[in-house]
């Protein structure tokens, strides 16, 4: 964020603090989980593998809970509308893509962890949150079902990462190509 961008739009409405904290916190969690998820599946049977699998599951359930909180917050606290400066120059397809990306991301924020949890249940490994709180099984133990679900978790996670990539690319374009200060809506600072 450059000072000029916020000066240019002095009354730009920002996301509120809770929305910003959840956005950036979950952004970190999602990238960490994706990295761990890709890395851990190739590890040989070891304490390290067991540790990472459990961390991945704990983080996934935490992500799910915070996403639910985030959705409730979003539905009860209207997000700022796109600045007129942005909508004026935005082609129709970009506007549609903007809505589609956000809706699909929210859908996958729920689907990816839920499918992962269901896989863990079906595989016979109930999720015990932080090693302390046993969570209910989403599916009964069934190895064949588990094998069917496993690639789905990966596929959905890859789809989510593609959307996250698109989201980041769009943010970068607005910030450094269009220079319209759109990113400042999600950044703390003078408001």
């Amino acid at each position: 964020m450059t000072p000029s961008s916020s000066e240019r739009t002095p009354q730009a409405t920002r996301y509120n603090t809770v929305a910003m904290v959840l956005h950036w916190l979950l952004a970190l969690v999602i990238l960490a989980m994706f990295g761990i998820g890709i890395y851990m599946t190739d590890l040989p049977f070891s304490p390290q593998r067991l540790k990472l699998y459990n961390w991945h599951k704990w983080a996934g359930v935490t992500f799910l809970a915070l996403t639910l909180l985030r959705l409730v917050w979003r539905m009860t606290h209207r997000p700022p509308a796109l600045p007129v400066a942005v909508t004026r120059t935005m082609p129709g397809w970009q506007h549609r893509a903007y809505h589609a990306t956000h809706h699909l991301m929210y859908l996958l924020f729920f689907a990816v962890p839920l499918v992962g949890w269901a896989y863990s249940s079906a595989a016979g490994f109930p999720v015990v949150w932080f090693g302390q709180i046993p969570l209910p099984d989403l599916l009964p133990v069934n190895k064949e079902v588990a094998e069917l679900i496993k690639p789905l978790h990966k596929l959905l996670a890859l789809a989510l990462m593609a959307l996250v990539g698109l989201h980041i690319a769009a943010a970068i374009k607005h910030q450094w190509v269009d220079r319209d200060g759109l990113l400042s809506r999600m950044l703390p600072g003078r408001g």
């Binding site: 049977f45 070891s46 304490p47 067991l50 540790k51 459990n54 595989a123 016979g124 490994f125 109930p126 999720v127 015990v128 932080f130 090693g131 302390q132 046993p134």
Partner: protein, 191 residues
Amino acid sequence: MNTRHVASALLVASLAAIALPAAAQQKLLPAQSSIAFEIKQMGVPVQGHFKKFDAQVNFAATKLTSSKVNFTVDIASTTLGAPEMDSELPKATWFNTAKFPQAQFTSSGFKALGGGKYEVTGKLAIKGQSRDVTVPLTMTQAGATTTASGVLPIKRLAFKIGEGDWADTSMVADDVQVKFKLALSGIPKLP
């Protein structure tokens, strides 16, 4: 063959039939028996069981001092229900199955606690480590079958099950619950 011979042959046969049950060998009925165990991996309960085991039993509730049980478990038959874990179990870190193919329990004394409950003291040897244990069990009889069941809590590290990195009890808990249900034939009537 005259009638007298037939009569004496029948007499001998019936005497044998009466005498045999008393001296009948007490036998384990594997199909109706099970030995399962539960371990905890980072708080997650994991169930396993042994598929092959056998016992030499000589038990009489009225003759506890001469009662004896010698129990063997075929360690290679251990399963946790997940192939990626089962392939690790025979390794030296875990059971070292090649060197210690059998686990053994040899009783040294029986104590009646009343109400079909008994305490069996003896030596449990797994992976070359022999430890004194007291096995609590409950015996019930239905028809010709006697069922002895109970739970024996053991410490896996006392038997060096899980060495090196795997000795870390924050990854795999030290406590293991061994749950057994043994169906036996030929046990004299319980009081």
